[in-house]
Structures are given as C-alpha cells and as structure tokens.
C-alpha cells in the first residue's frame, strides 16, 4: 500500500509548484492510474514514490514505512520501474538487462538464469532467440516487453509504470495492454500507472487519479469518474463518447429487468450477465433487435432492452446545468 500525504514539489528556479498538496492512497493489488494533460505533475508524483525526485513537503509511505528513512537505491530495488523510453542498457544483452535487479540483489547465478527465462516467456518472448540479442536489434513492441520483464525481475510487490505502452503503435499497444491486464489478474501487483490517454486510463485502472496543473482534481473508480465528473475539466478530459465508455464499464446485470419474462426460443439472442452492456448493444445493432436475454451460466435471469440502455445513459451522462 502506498500513501501520499499532502505532497508538494516545487522545482528549483520555479515559483509554481509542479505538484500541489496531493494526498491519496493506492491499495495493494490495485492498478491506480494517474491521468491528466502533460505538465499536470503525474510523472513527478510517480518519480517521488521511488525517490527519483524528492518532495518539497509532505510524506510518502510504502507499506507504512516513510520512504525518506530508506536508502534510495535499496528502496528502488523493491519497486519495479517502467518508462516510455524503456531505457534498456544498450551494451548489455536482453538477458543481462532483465537480470539487472536480481544481480544488484546478489541472487545466485542459477536462480537468476531460471528467473530470466521464466520472465521472457511470461511477457511473450522466446528466451532462446531474444535473450542473446542487444536492445538495438529489437522492435519497439519487443523492447517494451523487455522493459516490463526487467521491472518484474525481482518480483517487486509495487510497480511504477510511466506511459509504458506509449512508444508503440496503437495495435501493439492494445495487445500489450490486454496481455498486461491478463498477467495482473494472477500477479496482483500494486501498480501506479501514468498516462495522458483517458481511454487507456479507463481500461487499465481500478482507480483513477485525475490531475491538472499539479492539483488532484478527482479520484474514484473509472465508472464513478465517468458518471460523476467533478468539473468541466474532467468532463472535457473524458471526451465526447462518455456514454459509450460507461456502457463498456457497466455489466448487463446492472441494467437488466429481472421481472420481465423473456420470450425464449432457439433463435433468441442471449448474453452473459457479467459482460459489458457495450457487447449487448453491439448484438442488438447487428441483429436489428430491441432486447436480449441475460443469463447466468445456463439460466436466464433477466431481459436487457434497448430502451433501458438509452434511459440509463441519458440519466447518468446528462451534462450538469
């Protein structure tokens, strides 16, 4: 668990604080996304957590320990760090790059070797062919994967990720995001994730922290932020397709009518209750129908209608007066 208590940071030679009295908490096992325009302080906050920057005032604790009481190098070895520019050491092979932190921690050679192989497989790279290569011989997507593998090498409970998928093309990015979310289901790391892309934030985050000009504007789950934006800045950030984003995060069971009887026949369209409403909508549009049956396993538990979706979006995403 990471806690920030009234953290401010003013860089030397400037008057305006880059980060202004920000407090929040990141719970264990969650992905917490810092999102905002460039210069909003999100990267600075991230870099204060592993002491690459020192706060001007305030307190940061990791698992209850004040990080200022720890040796920065020792602290950083327990926190995974991924950056957009990746920063692989150009004169080391991929294997050597991934074994960096375990080596700093003096793991035995055999354990490091086994761990590197395991990690490269985990991030979808072939240890046999990629392991001996140098960073300049890899594609952008491969380098990003190595960057993530390197950060996870010593199995740190906490990971800091600064636009980790920012430097690859959109198709690879979506692929990497999906893979990472799948990994996270098993790994349950505590992750701080920086992005300027609200779509990525909504997709990756268990929790969003929205920042502007060094101030914390709003925090909450993606659905909370989408349905109750704090002000016009957040509304603008969320974009024009707020309703569609909400449908992506709302489960069918939330909007279904439990009491209506669904006229079941072998041709009727069914959808699982945990699926997002967006998928139900897609189904309705494709088949040109107004309702689908919602089921839990084999059993039909309710009906989701076109009207109930429209009404829901109209209700929750109405612009505030």
């Amino acid at each position: 668990m990471i806690t920030l208590d009234r953290i401010s940071k003013t860089f030397p030679g400037t008057d305006i604080p880059a980060v202004d009295r920000v407090s929040f908490q990141v719970n264990a096992g969650n992905i917490c996304v810092f999102v905002g325009p460039s210069g909003c302080g999100k990267t600075t906050i991230l870099r204060m957590i592993n002491r690459l920057e020192e706060p001007s005032s305030g307190r940061i604790t990791v698992n209850g320990q004040d990080i200022m009481s720890l040796d920065p190098a020792v602290l950083r070895r327990t926190i995974g760090y991924v950056i957009q520019q990746i920063g692989l050491l150009p004169h080391k092979t991929i294997e050597q790059n991934v074994s960096l932190v375990p080596e700093l921690l003096n793991w035995p050679k055999s354990k490091i070797k086994a761990r590197v192989t395991e990690l490269l497989v985990l991030v979808g790279l072939d240890p046999g062919t990629v392991g001996r290569k140098y960073p300049h011989q890899l594609s952008g997507g491969q380098s990003q994967r190595v960057g993530v593998a390197r950060a996870m090498a010593a199995d740190p409970p906490i990971m800091l990720m600064d636009e980790p998928f920012g430097a690859v093309d959109p198709i690879v990015r979506i692929h990497l995001q999906d893979e990472f979310l799948r990994l996270q289901q098993h790994l349950k790391k505590t992750i701080c994730f920086v992005t300027h892309d609200i779509n990525e934030a909504v997709k990756m985050g268990d929790y969003l922290i929205i920042l502007n000009m060094g101030r914390l504007i709003q925090m909450g789950t993606p659905l909370e932020v989408l349905t109750e934006p704090a002000d016009d800045f957040v509304l603008n950030l969320l974009g024009d397709d707020r309703g569609v984003k909400i449908l992506d995060l709302t489960r069918c069971e939330t909007l279904m009518d439990r009491d209506r009887n669904f006229p079941y026949n072998p041709d009727s369209c069914l959808i699982q209750s945990v699926k997002p409403v967006k998928i139900a909508l897609e189904l309705m549009m494709k088949k040109n129908i107004d309702q689908v049956g919602v089921c839990k396993g084999e059993r039909i538990v309710g009906v989701l209608t076109w009207n109930s979706i429209k009404e829901h979006i109209s209700r929750v995403s109405r612009d505030r007066p």
Partner: protein, 214 residues
C-alpha cells in the same frame, strides 16, 4: 645542399634508433599522466554537483592548448629549469585537452532515459558510473586518447630543444648542420611511431568497447 644516401642510411640504421626509446618515453609518460588527469576531471565535471563548472574548466583546458609547447617550457623555466622535467610537463599540458573534451562529451551523451532507468532499478551512483556511463563512453574517450597520442608524438620532437632528448635530437642536428638526411631519417621514425601508436590504441579501444558496437 645535396642528398647523401650513405649518410641517410647510416642515420636511419645506426643513429636514429637509439632515440626511439627516449622518444617513446616522452610520449607515453605525458600521455599517461594526461589521461589520468583528464579522465578524472572529465568524470568529476559530469557529476550533478559540478556540471555547471564544466564550461569554465574547458576554457582552461582550451587555453592550455593554445599556448605553444615552447612557451610552456619558457613559463616554467624559472621553476623547473631546462631538461627532461619541463619537457614532460609541457607535453602533459598539451595532451590534456583532447582527452578531457572527449570524456565530458562522451559521458554527457549517455542517453538520459538509460541513466534514469539505471537509477530507477536501484543502481547506486557509483554503479551507474562504472557499469553504464563509462562503458558506453569508451569509444569517444579512446578517440580522444588517440588524437592526443598522435599529437604528442610530433610535439615531443621539440623536447630536444630544451635538453629533453628524444628523436628531436637527430632532427635538430640535421637542421643545424644542413643535413636533410638526418631530418628525413628522424621524420620517418616519428611518422612510423605515430601510425603504430594510433593502431595500438585503436586495438585497445576495440578490446574494451561495449559489446553491442563490435
């Protein structure tokens, strides 16, 4: 002035070779001292606390380069007198600049994101220097040492003027006695030594260069 082949052959095979070791000393000793000083200065001047001083110290090194070696000897003559010591000192000052300049340029050119990642992984400043900054700087630093070496081989000829011996002895003897045979013989050795030094250092550079560049 006519060219006597016998004198030339005699100079080439008998008289000049005895100065080779002396001349090599006049190159290797100043070069080693200069490399040590310039590398240390270059590394210190790229540390965060001293980076703002880098420009000013470079001005100093640049000034060192503009003073003719003879003038350096003249400046230090009252303290050190003539001979071997002042010659070594002048050549050292002369050899400093290319190495220092290249060291600072090389260490400053290590990509920021690589340093950031290295620190972020938990390397100490010392580990970052030894495992990242210096290995990546080897090619540029060695290029500086190579330039300095070639420069010193030719400048060291002047040492003979202040009693510092070396291959300059035979060359200046040739000039004084109007014997181009001696000048030519000495010059051939100087040229050969410059090429040989260059190749040897290039080989060392290849040996210690980072693996991804080989």
């Amino acid at each position: 002035m006519n060219f006597d082949l016998d004198i030339f052959m005699d100079a080439l095979t008998q008289r000049a070779p005895q100065y080779l070791v002396e001349h090599l000393q006049l190159v290797v000793i100043p070069l080693s001292i200069a490399a040590f000083i310039a590398l240390s200065a270059g590394i210190i001047l790229t540390r965060p606390g001293f980076r703002h001083l880098a420009d000013r110290v470079m001005v100093l090194f640049n000034a060192g380069q503009t003073i003719p070696p003879l003038a350096v000897i003249a400046i230090f003559f009252p303290f050190l007198g003539l001979g071997y010591g002042p010659a070594i000192l002048a050549l050292t000052i002369y050899a400093l600049l290319p190495i220092a300049r290249n060291t600072i340029a090389a260490v400053s050119a290590v990509p920021r994101e690589v340093l950031d990642a290295a620190r972020g992984m938990g390397m100490t400043s010392w580990q970052v220097l030894c495992r990242v900054e210096l290995p990546l700087s080897v090619p540029t630093i060695m290029a500086g040492i190579r330039t300095s070496a070639v420069l010193t081989v030719s400048t060291a000829v002047l040492a003979a003027l202040v009693g510092g011996k070396g291959m300059g002895a035979i060359i200046f003897a040739g000039i004084n006695f109007f014997r181009p045979e001696l000048v030519l013989a000495g010059t051939i050795y100087i040229g050969a030594m410059a090429v040989a030094m260059e190749r040897v250092i290039a080989f060392v550079e290849w040996l210690i260069s980072p693996a991804h560049l080989k």
